[in-house]
C-alpha cells in the first residue's frame, strides 16, 4: 500500500504527512508538483503549507501545477485523495470539492488543538471513526473560513457531504461550523485541521490521560489503508 504526498513550492507539512502514513502502516511516496507522474500510488495526500506564498489565492497556483492534471484524473476515477489545510484549498480551487476558503473572519492566524465531530464515516478517509465521534487534532490557518452559496451549502448538508464540524469554538467563521467536506463519491476529502499532527503519543494534542498523547488523526490514515486493501 503506497500513499503519495505531493510537495509544492511552499509546502510545510509534507514530511509530517509522510510520517503519519508510515505510522499508520503504509509506505509514503514523495511526489513532486512539477512532474506528470503519480508513481503508481494507491492514494494521495495534498499537504498543508503556503504553496506559492498563498499568492493570487490560497492553493490557486498550486491547483494549476503539472501534477494536478494527474491528481484530478485519478480523483475522478476514484482514487482516495486527502487535502489538508492548503491541500483542502487546492481541492476547492481544482473544483474537486465545492465551496471555497476565505480569510478568517477575525482577521488573525489561529493555532490551537481543535475539537471536531466526525459527521460522515462513509468516506475513504473516515471509515474507521464511529458515527458522531468527537476528536481533537491541531488546527493552524489564516484562511480557513469555509464558504459556499446557500444552494451549495444546502446540498452539502442534505447529501451528508460534511465530514467534520468544529465543536466548542468556530475558529475561522466557517459557515455551519464546517471543518471538512467530501465529494459525492466519498473518495476526495478536504479539511482545514491537521490529522497528520496527531498520530504519535508524545507529539499530539493533550488529552485527559496525558500531555500530548492525542492520536485521533491517525484514523484518517488507517481508514484509507483498510479501504484500499479491502478493494484490492
Amino acid at each position: 500500500m503506497r500513499v503519495g504526498v505531493v510537495t509544492f513550492p511552499g509546502s510545510l507539512d509534507d514530511r509530517d504527512a509522510q510520517r503519519a502514513i508510515r505510522l499508520a502502516g503504509a509506505d509514503p511516496v514523495a511526489l513532486w508538483h512539477g512532474e506528470h507522474d503519480l508513481h503508481g500510488v494507491d492514494a494521495l495526500v495534498l499537504p498543508g503549507g503556503f504553496s506559492y506564498g498563498d499568492y493570487l489565492r490560497a492553493g490557486a497556483i498550486a491547483s494549476l501545477s503539472p501534477i494536478m492534471a494527474e491528481v484530478i484524473d485519478a480523483a475522478n476515477k476514484g482514487m482516495p485523495v486527502l487535502g489538508i489545510c492548503n491541500g483542502f484549498q487546492m481541492l476547492t480551487e481544482a473544483h474537486l470539492l465545492e465551496g471555497g476558503l476565505i480569510r478568517n473572519d477575525h482577521g488573525s492566524f489561529i493555532c490551537r488543538d481543535q475539537q471536531l465531530r466526525v459527521e460522515n464515516t462513509a468516506t475513504d478517509w473516515t471509515s474507521g471513526f464511529a458515527a458522531g465521534q468527537e476528536i481533537t487534532i491541531p488546527l493552524k490557518n489564516g484562511e480557513g473560513g469555509f464558504i459556499a452559496s446557500a444552494d451549495t451549502l444546502e446540498r452539502l448538508e442534505g447529501e451528508g457531504h460534511v465530514v467534520v464540524r468544529y465543536l466548542g469554538l468556530n475558529p475561522n467563521g466557517s459557515l455551519n461550523d464546517i471543518a471538512g467536506i467530501t465529494n459525492a463519491r466519498g473518495n476526495v476529502v478536504g479539511l482545514m485541521p491537521h490529522p497528520e499532527h496527531a498520530v504519535e503519543p508524545g507529539f499530539g494534542p493533550d488529552t485527559a490521560d496525558a500531555m500530548r498523547s492525542g492520536v485521533d488523526g491517525l484514523t484518517f490514515f488507517t481508514s484509507v489503508i483498510q479501504r484500499v486493501l479491502a478493494a484490492a
Binding site: 493570487l56 489565492r57 490557486a60 494549476l64 476547492t92 480551487e93 465545492e98 465551496g99 471555497g100 476565505i102 480569510r103 478568517n104 473572519d105 477575525h106 482577521g107 473560513g145 464558504i147 459556499a148 452559496s149 467563521g173
Partner: protein, 89 residues
C-alpha cells in the same frame, strides 16, 4: 507594451476581513466619515502585440477561471490601460 487591467473584488455579500481591518484603522485615525472599506485586487497584464477582441476574450476567460474564483470573488472590471505609468511613447 499595451496593458490590460483586470479588477477583482471579494463578493459583496461576503465578509472582507482585510477591508474591515483597514476601516478599523481609519476609525482609529479619527476618519469617522469613512465608514467602510472593501479591499480587492488589480492585475496589470502586459500583452505582446496588439490588443484585439480575441485577446480581450482570452483575458475575460482567464479573469473568470484563473485570476478570480467565482465562489468567493467577482471580476468587476476589465479595461485597456491607455497610457501606462512611466511609459513614454
Amino acid at each position: 507594451m499595451p496593458t490590460i487591467v483586470v479588477e477583482v473584488m471579494p463578493k459583496a455579500e461576503l465578509l472582507d476581513p482585510q477591508g474591515k481591518a483597514v476601516a478599523g484603522a481609519l476609525g482609529r485615525l479619527g476618519k469617522s466619515r469613512f465608514t467602510g472599506v472593501r479591499l480587492g485586487k488589480r492585475f496589470e497584464i502586459t500583452v505582446a502585440g496588439h490588443i484585439d477582441d480575441a485577446v480581450l476574450a482570452e483575458i475575460q476567460e482567464l479573469a473568470d477561471t484563473v485570476l478570480s474564483n467565482s465562489v468567493i470573488e467577482d471580476v468587476v472590471g476589465i479595461h485597456v490601460l491607455e497610457a501606462p505609468a512611466g511609459e513614454t511613447h
